[in-house]
């Protein structure tokens, strides 16, 4: 089971510079690097993590710690703290959070409680590798590597059967794929009871959404749109950290309208997204978008700010183009009634489909990602889906299946 969440903690007045300075020397992509003070690569439950700070007109600065994980939130936070303790007795994490407001007990136990108290679960989100643990993704990737190396070295096998035999032998002997056929894939099928519950929930939210859209229509059409260009310095600070590898991270924090009508409409919209994603998008891709690993939307505790975090393949520009051309309705559901958002109709049309205005809005709403961790930077969403299929087919092959059509997907 996956979980995705953020821990949003207030920073003491004037301390944001210190927090940013503490995070600045951290490597931007942390996979397998020894100088990572969080020890992310040692946290076995972790797929992606990020840290950023954002400012708020009323509440001042906050620290956002994003986690995309296997298993429960509690167990994961325990893992984070255990790794921190092993690394430096927890000194770095305690130093970081000593700048947070209301964090009094400067112990790892105290930090555990503090983090748990500030966990924010998302309103909606998407995970591509449904059901796959970090270790399964890595194992599948290694299986692909072995197959790739085997088929690419020496004289090509004379027949498909000979190729299959060679590959299976290599997998059994490679130390990194030991027990490769014994790790079960939980699959992507949604059990019947959660399925029925999701259908009912989708219906409920759908009906509520329709009513609330009508209620808010005038406010929606008369709300101000902000067409300002992004600040060049902000844009540069964001672009500076993009495309370091072929996967990227973004975090956006926007103000939303806080009147009850629009808040409720947004809740209904998120409920609809949440349940439709659960029901429909279970096979790696979000419709025609095949680049998102983990993405989610959360409200801050006071419901005034909406945080969007995403870990995606390819450039930011192509990601936003995907939104504009392939998923503008879904994006509108999530981002409509945000202050300054390009004008929408019924929370579905307009908005994100207006390319330049929407792209500027998204850029303006972003804050620099200070630290980002990616547990498997060598594989894309599409690669993960292919590797999953490949290992499943190879297990069948090992068990006697004659079908060697898996060679086509290598």
């Amino acid at each position: 089971m996956h979980n995705k969440f953020t821990i949003v903690t207030p920073i003491q007045g004037g301390q944001q510079g210190k927090v940013q300075a503490l995070l600045k020397p951290c490597p931007y992509v942390c996979a397998e690097t020894p100088d990572d003070p969080f020890g992310f690569a040692r946290i076995e439950t972790l797929h992606f993590a990020s840290l950023s700070t954002f400012d708020d007109l009323e509440n001042g600065w906050s620290l956002v710690f994003e986690h995309n994980i296997d298993g429960s939130i509690e167990d994961h936070i325990d893992n984070v703290l255990t790794v921190a303790e092993t690394l430096d007795g927890g000194a770095f994490l305690l130093d970081l959070y000593s700048n947070s407001a209301q964090f009094k007990a400067h112990t790892l136990d105290g930090l555990r409680d503090y983090m748990l108290a500030h966990v924010i679960k998302p309103q909606a989100g998407f995970i591509s590798a449904v059901g796959m643990t970090r270790d399964q993704i890595r194992l599948d990737a290694r299986v692909y590597e072995v197959v790739d190396e085997e088929l690419g070295s020496g004289a090509p096998p004379a027949t498909s059967d000979a190729a299959a035999a060679r590959v299976l032998k290599a997998l059994d002997t490679d130390p990194q794929t030991k027990g490769w056929d014994g790790v079960a894939d939980p699959g992507t099928k949604l059990p019947i009871i959660p399925k029925i519950l999701s259908i009912l929930a989708a219906l409920f939210h759908g009906i509520a959404f329709l009513v609330l859209v009508l209620v808010n229509l005038v406010r929606e059409r008369t709300a101000d749109q902000d067409s300002a260009r992004p600040d060049p310095d902000l844009r540069r600070s964001l672009e500076k950290n993009e495309d370091l590898i072929s996967t990227n991270h973004m975090i956006s924090v926007v103000y939303v309208h806080t009147d009850a009508g629009r808040q409720l409409a947004k809740r209904a919209g998120f409920g609809l997204i949440r349940n439709l994603v659960t029901l429909i998008f279970r096979n790696s891709f979000l419709g025609e978008i095949n680049t998102i690993h983990f993405a989610h939307w959360s409200y801050t505790k006071d419901n005034r700010r909406l945080i969007f975090v995403s870990n995606y393949d390819g450039s930011w520009r192509s990601y936003l183009d995907d939104f504009t051309l392939k998923a503008s309705n879904g994006l509108n559901l999530a981002w409509a009634h945000s202050i300054g958002f390009p004008k929408t109709w019924a929370m579905l049309w307009g908005g994100a489909s207006k390319g330049p205005e929407f792209i500027d809005y998204a850029r303006r709403s972003m804050v620099p990602t200070l630290v980002w961790y990616h547990a498997y930077p060598s594989v894309s969403v599409t690669n993960i889906a292919r590797n999953r299929k490949l290992r499943a087919a190879l297990i069948k092959s090992k068990n006697g299946a004659k079908d060697t059509s898996w060679l086509e997907i290598v």
Partner: protein, 477 residues
């Protein structure tokens, strides 16, 4: 608006619509403005003489030996317009320039392509503009360029480079170049293609606003356009800006010009292919090269309907070859224009692709150091959305359409393993029963120079040439 045939517009610079194929020699003078007023006087004189050619001047007749066009970098526009340069109104990549670190990474100008290895253009703000001189001989091209630039014109010539066209439009590896170009809707050519070859029309015709400012683009909107102060335009040379009503539209009938000098290791390319190919049927050096480029050497498409006569090179859409068995998924042609197979839906794929088209105008260079290659030039209404997108999201994306550890074998940048990501220097050729992978493919093409330019309309040039005077008469608002 697009129903008017823009190809004979007296306001659009000639190079946008014409390859000047009869003027097969070119000289490019990159200059830096040292005296704004003097330069504007010079530009004004050039315009009065009709030295800057518009699209109205048709393909040269026999007695015409020279055509000239001019474009400016953001540093140039800022110098020439001073307070009238409104940075936020330009494409932000143009405003920043090609060589700032973040653009370098987006473009793949790292490793072998790092600007520190360039012959020109690496220094931000060094170049203010380019004067392009096309002629029937290299001597005339150079002579006319120098005659123009060596006048007392308030500018220093920073760098010069020469280009030419080969017969049959071959690029230095020997392949026919410029086969697939976007065609502007409403032009005579577009109408002819739409009538005679609907398949080609489907993958080629774009709205004018995709390539030139002032007209609706693929979304039906007028693309964003550079603006300037109304106070600098007392005579009303320019139209009111479509977005800011208190400003003037400097962009209409103009376009962004991307200029890249790409050195091609022709010996290394063919040596590598000869060593790698087995020489057996289907695996010769030429066939391997064609698999990398994604077209036959004479420009024919890899995906061919054998029944189709005459042989067709531009109406395909890869939909019958999704797996890339004929034209590999990672080939240069497929990465830079993947037509209807971007994603599952063919229609949506094509919509996506057509938002990222560029109009190319390349020539070949042979320099004094023995380097040869392409002077790649392209036009687009947005550098970020078009040229940079093609370069970053497609050509240099190591995850392009399910691939891994490889980029465009021709214009991609090979990279060492870093930050947990693997070394990127492979090339995959899909075939049955399973793909062939070429490993440690050398870098055949390296960037040796480049800059982003704005190609103004003739009216905008006229405006630019009078801003010092206008400013003296009536200060900018």
């Amino acid at each position: 608006m697009t129903e008017t045939d823009l190809t004979s517009s007296p306001d659009i610079q000639g190079i946008f619509f014409r390859g000047y194929v009869k003027l097969d020699q070119a000289a490019y003078g990159f200059f830096r403005v040292t005296d704004r007023a003097l330069f504007q006087d010079w530009l004004s004189g050039m315009l009065k003489e009709g030295a800057i050619t518009s699209a109205k001047d048709k393909q040269p007749a026999d007695n015409v030996v020279n055509r000239m066009n001019i474009a400016f970098t953001s540093a140039g526009m800022s110098t020439l317009l001073a307070a009238g340069y409104i940075a936020e109104s330009y494409d932000h990549s143009f405003a920043a320039g090609m060589v700032v670190p973040e653009r370098s990474r987006i473009l793949g100008d790292t490793e072998a392509n790092d600007p520190k290895n360039w012959d020109w253009g690496a220094k931000q703000d060094e170049i203010h503009g380019v004067l392009m001189s096309f002629a029937t001989s290299k001597d005339i091209a150079e002579e006319r360029l120098l005659a123009a630039l060596c006048q007392v014109n308030g500018a220093d010539c920073v760098h010069r480079t020469f280009g030419h066209l080969e017969d049959d439009n071959r690029e230095p590896f020997g392949f026919k170049d410029g086969v697939s170009q976007p065609i502007i809707k409403g032009t005579k050519r577009a109408k002819k293609v739409a009538r005679e070859n609907p398949d080609e029309a489907r993958v080629s015709i774009v709205e004018a606003g995709e390539l030139i400012m002032g007209y609706p683009d693929g979304t039906g909107e007028i693309p964003r356009s550079p603006a300037t102060s109304a106070g600098l335009d007392p005579d009303g040379i320019l139209d009111t800006h479509p977005e800011w009503k208190d400003r003037r539209d400097l962009g209409k009938n103009g376009s962004y010009l991307v200029f890249r000098q790409l050195a091609q290791d022709t010996v290394g390319f063919w040596d590598y292919l000869s060593e790698t190919a087995s020489g057996e049927d289907g695996d010769t050096a030429l066939e391997l090269a064609e698999k990398m480029i994604g077209r036959r050497k004479d420009g024919e498409a890899m995906e061919q309907d054998p029944a189709k006569k005459p042989r067709d090179n531009n109406s395909f859409d890869f939909s019958k070859d999704r797996a890339g068995l004929q034209c590999p998924i990672g080939s240069h042609v497929r990465r830079s224009n993947n037509r209807a197979v971007n994603i599952k839906s063919e229609k949506l794929s094509l919509d996506v692709t057509m938002r990222h088209r560029i109009l190319r105008r390349a020539r070949i260079f042979d320099d004094d150091n023995g380097q040869t290659g392409l002077q790649f030039m392209c036009f687009n209404a947005s550098i970020v959305r078009q040229f940079e997108f093609v370069q970053s999201a497609w050509c240099n994306n190591s995850f392009f359409q399910g691939l891994q550890k490889e980029v465009d074998p021709i214009v991609g940048t090979h990279r060492p393993a870093k930050l947990g990501a693997p070394e990127i220097d492979r090339y995959t050729i899909p075939q049955e029963p399973y793909r062939k992978v070429l490993k440690k493919v050398p870098q055949f093409v390296t960037v040796k120079g480049g800059a982003y330019f704005f190609l103004p309309s003739l009216k905008a040039l006229q405006f630019i040439s009078q801003t010092v005077k206008a400013n003296a008469d009536k200060p900018a608002l």
